[in-house]
């Protein structure tokens, strides 16, 4: 068994839904969208209409230029001798063009506004606190800072490498690792989870986050983040959209949209002289209206809102991504490496039986098992001690005893007594090897051990062998501890859904292959990496990547860092070490490994929303042509009335209806852009068929209906 997987267990028991409910107390909900948000963000939206800002969005910039042009025209018309109808028409078009621009900036403002609301609640945790900085920290001589002097400084002044002391009731001044002590910490400000968590020096649970509060005890923390670069700072920057960089797919899409826009500019520019040949020159207002209707304003207006909202959704789920690129990569993941413990099974395995080998009393095995587990801080180790206690054995202290901690390489833990005797407990193969180091093992004994190990494994349990070395230097096997795993419910369906999405799940476990296979069968994963060492995990990731797969994994231990860095999407648990967090490209503040599946979903949803709205935007143009082309030329070529299949009231009402529809559709789609297109795991082809029908075919049909309805209303206005 690997410690990397065990230490994630401390919080995984909490059902994900309960955790999600808790968050809502801390952060605004992500799904709901109310019209009041539009009003609240209006000032911001107006600010964003500045050409200097809008210039970065070529599609909307063109609309703004068009709106400015028609404004000038509308003002000048009375002097140029336009009649009342054309002046009224020009003004109406102008107003709706400006509204189109406004709606676009509003979409972005609303998306950012929601991020800001979250940031505000986060920022509350960043209030400057004072910190007790240790002068001349002596790591070896005085690790717990019992003698060294401290000074009080503002938390903002802390630098990387500083050491501070935090006592119960105080706020931890910055991100760091505990170097001495143990404490319970309230991390609700960051994670929304109200139950305190235990943080202690050494091992994989040593990282603490700035802004969280120590509830009990006293810890010494070494600061690992630079000022202004703590998680909270990064999170605020992300949700506010301040550091948002365009992701690779977004850049590609922007290029496509720009080129489409250029094509339509050429189409409209050529139309004037070409129509002029036949005395059908359209007015400038009409040409601008046509251009705005044709260029992909819908997606152009919503593109940045979609990106911001996608990040936002991730943060809502308490996942902090270092870049938008990582979120996009999550959508492409085809292999998920899932740690068994905490993800597939409910955290802790418990010892349920001691199976002694023939000739060994159960009492002796119980004692040996309990003693060898004193040094094992994992819940499994604790459960062995507890089971022994139930059987009336409580280990006693003995002087000169050396504790042998578990390592991923030895895969054993135990004690060495002063008299040379020793106890070992661990994976059967490792323990057997240890015994063999001291002398040959009778084949019959090895066979009996094997029999018990296989028996437990076949039931999906985990066998741990126990062995002792007596003071004279001979070693014997004593028996086997039966640890039992409980597989989470509902996983089979979830993995089946992933399979439909083309995602393979691989369970990673330190268990032996037989046990692992039994649990894998029960949980319904596609593949298993048993008896995994960090090196094997890394090798597996490389193998998958060479096969063309993109790999996502979670990890928390320092020895996970290489694998986290190698994986395309590496999600570090917030409870994990700083090394793990640095190596991964996301941090899960809830330390919930099942969230990997949510992250993949968010990544996909982000791309789907962009693709779907682009398709919708382009498909919309068909109907707009049928509205505007006959309206422009029917005066000269009455035959083109045949194209007016919507039977629109008049030329001006047709053009105005198309412009109004074009503007309103942006507002109508803001909630969708913020929420993301609904995504249900299914095969690529059925997903595409569905989206093509809804956004492609739907995008062709919807505007026919919308424009007709608006036209019916406009036809009531006198003069149209």
């Amino acid at each position: 068994m690997s410690t990397t997987s065990e230490s994630t267990a401390d919080r995984a028991d909490a059902p994900a839904t309960a955790a999600a409910d808790d968050h809502q107390d801390v952060r605004p909900p992500s799904g709901a969208f109310s019209p009041s948000q539009l009003v609240r963000n209006l000032p911001d939206a107006v600010r964003k209409m500045s050409p200097r800002y809008l210039f970065r969005n070529p599609v909307m910039f063109i609309v703004e230029v068009g709106a400015a042009l028609t404004t000038v025209l509308a003002v000048a018309l009375p002097f140029l001798g336009g009649d009342g109808t054309t002046i009224g028409f020009t003004w109406l078009i102008t107003v709706w063009l400006w509204l189109t621009v406004l709606f676009a900036t509003l979409a972005e403002a609303v998306a950012e506004g929601r991020g800001r609301a979250q940031a505000a609640s986060l920022r509350a945790t960043r209030t400057t606190t004072s910190a007790l900085r240790v002068r001349g920290y002596d790591r070896t001589g005085d690790p717990a800072v019992e003698r060294a002097e401290t000074e009080s400084v503002a938390s903002a002044e802390l630098k990387q490498g500083d050491v501070v002391v935090v006592v119960a009731g105080e706020v931890i001044p910055g991100d760091g690792d505990i170097v001495a002590g143990i404490a319970s910490v309230d991390e609700s400000a960051i994670t929304g989870e109200s139950a305190p968590v235990v943080r202690e020096a050494g091992g994989d649970r040593s990282a603490v986050t700035g802004g969280t509060r120590v509830l009990s005890d006293r810890i010494v923390v070494q600061i690992t983040s630079k000022p202004g670069e703590t998680f909270v700072d990064r999170m605020i920057a992300l949700v506010e959209g301040a550091v948002r960089q365009k992701t690779p797919n977004e850049i590609a899409l922007s290029i496509l949209l720009s080129v489409l826009t250029i094509i339509f500019v050429v189409v409209v520019l050529a139309l004037g002289p070409v129509a002029g040949l036949q005395g059908a020159t359209p007015g400038v207002t009409v040409l601008v209206a046509l251009l705005v209707c044709l260029i992909p304003t819908t997606i152009g207006a919503l593109l940045s809102a979609i990106g911001i909202a996608g990040m936002d959704r991730l943060v809502q789920r308490n996942v902090l991504a270092t870049s938008g690129r990582a979120v996009e990569a999550a959508g492409d993941v085809t292999t998920l490496l899932l740690d068994k413990t905490g993800t597939i099974t409910y955290g802790n395995r418990r010892a349920v039986a001691f199976l002694a080998l023939p000739g060994i009393s159960e009492r002796r095995l119980t004692e040996a098992a309990a003693l060898s587990s004193i040094a094992d801080p994992t819940p499994e180790g604790a459960s062995v001690v507890e089971l022994a206690a139930e059987r009336d054995f409580v280990p006693t202290e003995r002087p000169g005893r050396t504790i042998v901690p578990f390592t991923a390489q030895t895969r054993m833990s135990g004690i060495d007594e002063a008299d040379g005797s020793a106890l070992r407990k661990g994976a059967a193969a490792s323990v057997l090897a240890w015994v063999q180091e001291h002398g040959p093992v009778a084949p019959a004994v090895a066979e009996q051990l094997e029999e018990r190990v296989v028996g437990i494994s076949e039931q999906g349990g985990t066998p741990l062998a126990v062995a002792e070395r007596t003071a004279d230097g001979t070693a014997h096997l004593l028996g086997v501890i039966h640890l039992k795993d409980v597989v989470k419910t509902g996983l089979v369906e979830r993995f089946a859904a992933l399979r439909a999405m083309g995602i393979r799940t691989v369970m990673v476990t330190g268990d032996n292959p037989v046990t692992a296979a039994a649990i894998a069968r029960e949980a319904g994963v596609d593949d298993v990496l048993a008896e995994a060492t960090p090196e094997e995990k890394l090798a597996l990731i490389r193998r998958e990547q060479e096969g063309g797969h993109l790999v996502a994994m979670t990890g928390d231990g320092t020895n996970d860092a290489p694998a986290l860095a190698q994986a395309d999407v590496g999600v570090a648990m917030n409870t994990g070490t700083s090394a793990a967090k640095e190596a991964g490209n996301m941090v899960d503040l809830d330390s919930d490994p099942t969230k990997l599946i949510d992250i993949v979903t968010i990544g996909k949803q982000l791309l789907i929303t962009r693709g779907a709205l682009t398709t919708f935007s382009i498909a919309n143009d068909v109907a707009k042509y049928f509205a505007i082309i006959p309206a422009m030329f029917v005066g000269v070529f009455p035959g083109l009335q045949a194209l007016n299949i919507m039977q629109l009231h008049s030329s001006s009402s047709a053009i105005l209806s198309a412009v109004i529809f074009n503007a309103l559709v942006i507002v109508a789609l803001i909630p969708l852009a913020l929420r993301g297109v609904r995504y249900r795991p299914s095969s690529a082809s059925s997903l595409l068929t569905r989206n093509l029908l809804v956004y492609g075919l739907g995008g062709v049909i919807a505007p026919f209906i919308g424009i007709k309805l608006i036209d019916l209303l406009i036809s009531l206005i006198p003069g149209f």
Partner: protein, 559 residues
């Protein structure tokens, strides 16, 4: 010709295409993948100092194509301007500057737009040493560019080489075009196409008058004209002339020649990328578009337009009696949708909506199946754009055949998409926006009035930008504005897309492809892909051209 007979002949066409295309596609795949050079090819390599084994990255590949094209233009221009000194010039003078410039570009770019009357302008030397050579070369260039793109998509190692342009060009000529054109010329001779060096012959007619009948090496020209989707006729009447296209059978055979290489290349593509299903999906998309647009054109012509055609019994104006409505329409549609531009009937005299379909065939980008090579690469670019959107819609970074479609690829693909419409629309816009030009075009060039007159100009720019070369008739293109303008449009319409396609190919070639796992990705060999690409082509074409079509053929046809 009645409907049943037409259906049977169409069936013959399909059978002939399958029977010839199957081995041809395999042969072409072998041509572009084998290491072995023929003896004659080794000789040419030595003569030209070509290192046949050296791989070229896309800029070098492109340089080769541009070099040979520029050289071709200069040679062809020179030959025309020095015609009076050449043998077999039939006593014709030097070709005027404007025409010579336009024609040089036109034949080098595989457009074969003819703003002159060939039999009274070009002697046999210019025809054979100039125009025919370019017919072969321009066809070969189209094919090798497509092959380069296929190699880019098929590459796995990330080595950015696209092959060797000189080796590819030489092989295309020696192994594909020359042998096929030779056989095709023999067949055409058998149908009655002429092949001689007789010059003009004056004959006395029964009524006592005289007629001057031109001769010439026609069959050899005609074969490559259709096979290489060139389309430049030996005679002004092009394939309507009985010496170029004498019978119903020769008509059918010429249609087969036009479609053969473009359709076959899809299977070559499938073989070369190691997945024949991909080729089949591309073929299916092309066939769907071809059938859709050709059926529409045939239907519009069969239905006729207005009372005049009803009184005449059929829309026979501008059509040859020996072909009739259906075969004229089928030939016209095939010629415009393949980038050939040969005509056996006057498209100007098609019904307004039938004429519109001929324009739309070209406006599709000539991808169904398009010109030799150009059709395939044009289609693949559209497919890449469609797959990009589809990839987003399934929540994956879009890939095609394992190649990522990222910013770089989208840039080249969308610039390709931008080029042709911009050339057509900017050309039209400038023509009518510059007052002096507009007046001249309206007075001198345009023959008809109203929308039909506009259609003549629209057709000319569409044909030039797409390197089709067919003309609507009516328009006088030999003017100070249209000769250079259309020449420039032809040149840019040919080489800008080639630049973008080769850049795209280079970009794909430099991508190392990790394995072939495409789980959860888009399957580009299923009917869904066909629907997706066909839909994309239709929408993009409609959105780009509907306004100008409304002012031309639609205004005329719906009146």
């Amino acid at each position: 010709m009645n409907g049943l007979l037409f259906a049977l002949t169409v069936l013959t066409l399909v059978v002939a295409l399958v029977a010839l295309g199957w081995p041809l596609s395999t042969w072409m795949a072998r041509t572009y993948t084998t290491d072995r050079d023929w003896l004659v090819e080794r000789g040419v390599h030595r003569l030209l100092g070509i290192d046949a084994r050296s791989e070229q990255r896309w800029p070098n590949y492109l340089r080769g194509i541009l070099a040979i094209s520029v050289l071709g233009v200069l040679l062809l221009y020179g030959l025309q301007r020095l015609q009076q000194f050449l043998p077999y010039s039939l006593g014709l003078p030097a070709v005027p500057e404007g025409i010579a410039f336009n024609t040089a570009i036109s034949f080098v770019t595989n457009t074969n737009w003819q703003s002159y009357s060939p039999e009274t302008t070009m002697g046999y030397t210019v025809q054979l040493a100039g125009l025919a050579v370019q017919n072969f070369l321009s066809a070969a260039i189209g094919i090798v560019v497509a092959v380069a793109l296929i190699r880019g998509l098929a590459s796995r190692t990330g080595a950015a080489g696209l092959g060797n342009v000189w080796v590819d060009l030489i092989r295309t000529v020696t192994r594909i075009l020359l042998p096929m054109a030779f056989v095709a010329a023999i067949v055409l001779l058998a149908t009655g196409v002429i092949q001689n060096f007789d010059g003009f012959r004056t004959v006395h007619t029964i009524t006592g008058g005289t007629a001057t009948i031109p001769g010439g090496p026609v069959a050899s020209q005609e074969a490559i004209k259709e096979l290489g989707t060139n389309g430049g006729g030996f005679f002004n009447a092009n394939s309507a002339h009985p010496f170029e296209n004498p019978t119903g059978f020769s008509n059918l055979f010429e249609i087969v020649l036009m479609l053969l290489i473009p359709f076959s290349l899809t299977r070559t593509f499938g073989i070369m990328v190691g997945d024949k299903r991909q080729g089949r999906a591309v073929l299916a998309s092309m066939v769907v578009l071809y059938v859709l647009f050709t059926s529409a054109l045939v239907a519009f012509e069969a239905a006729g337009a207005g009372s005049a055609t009803a009184a005449a019994g059929a829309a026979m104006e501008g059509k040859e009696q020996r072909f009739g409505v259906l075969w004229s329409a089928l030939f016209g549609s095939t010629s415009t949708i393949t980038s050939t531009g040969a005509v056996n009937a006057m498209h100007d005299s098609f019904t307004p909506l039938g004429g519109m379909m001929a324009m739309l065939n070209m406006m599709l980008g000539e991808i169904a199946p398009g010109g030799v090579g150009t059709g395939l690469y044009g289609f693949l670019v559209i497919a890449i754009l469609a797959v990009f959107l589809a990839g987003l819609m399934i929540g994956r970074t879009p890939t095609y055949l394992g190649k990522r479609i990222a910013a770089r690829e989208i840039t080249f693909a969308s610039l390709y998409l931008l080029t042709t419409p911009t050339l057509i629309l900017a050309g039209l816009g400038l023509t009518f926006a510059i007052p002096a030009v507009a007046a001249d075009v309206a007075k001198t060039s345009i023959f008809n009035t109203g929308p039909h007159g506009f259609s003549e100009v629209l057709y000319a720019f569409t044909s030039a930008a797409n390197n089709n070369g067919s003309a609507f008739g009516g328009l006088t293109a030999n003017t100070a504005w249209l000769n250079p303008a259309l020449g420039a449009v032809m040149w840019l319409g040919r080489y800008l897309p080639i630049v973008f396609v080769l850049a795209l190919a280079g970009s794909f070639a430099s991508q190392e492809t990790r394995g072939t796992a495409e789980a959860g990705g888009l399957d580009t060999h299923r009917p869904q892909f066909v629907v997706l690409t066909v839909g994309t082509v239709l929408i993009v074409t409609a959105l780009t051209y509907l306004p100008v079509l409304a002012l031309g053929p639609l205004a005329e046809g719906l009146a």
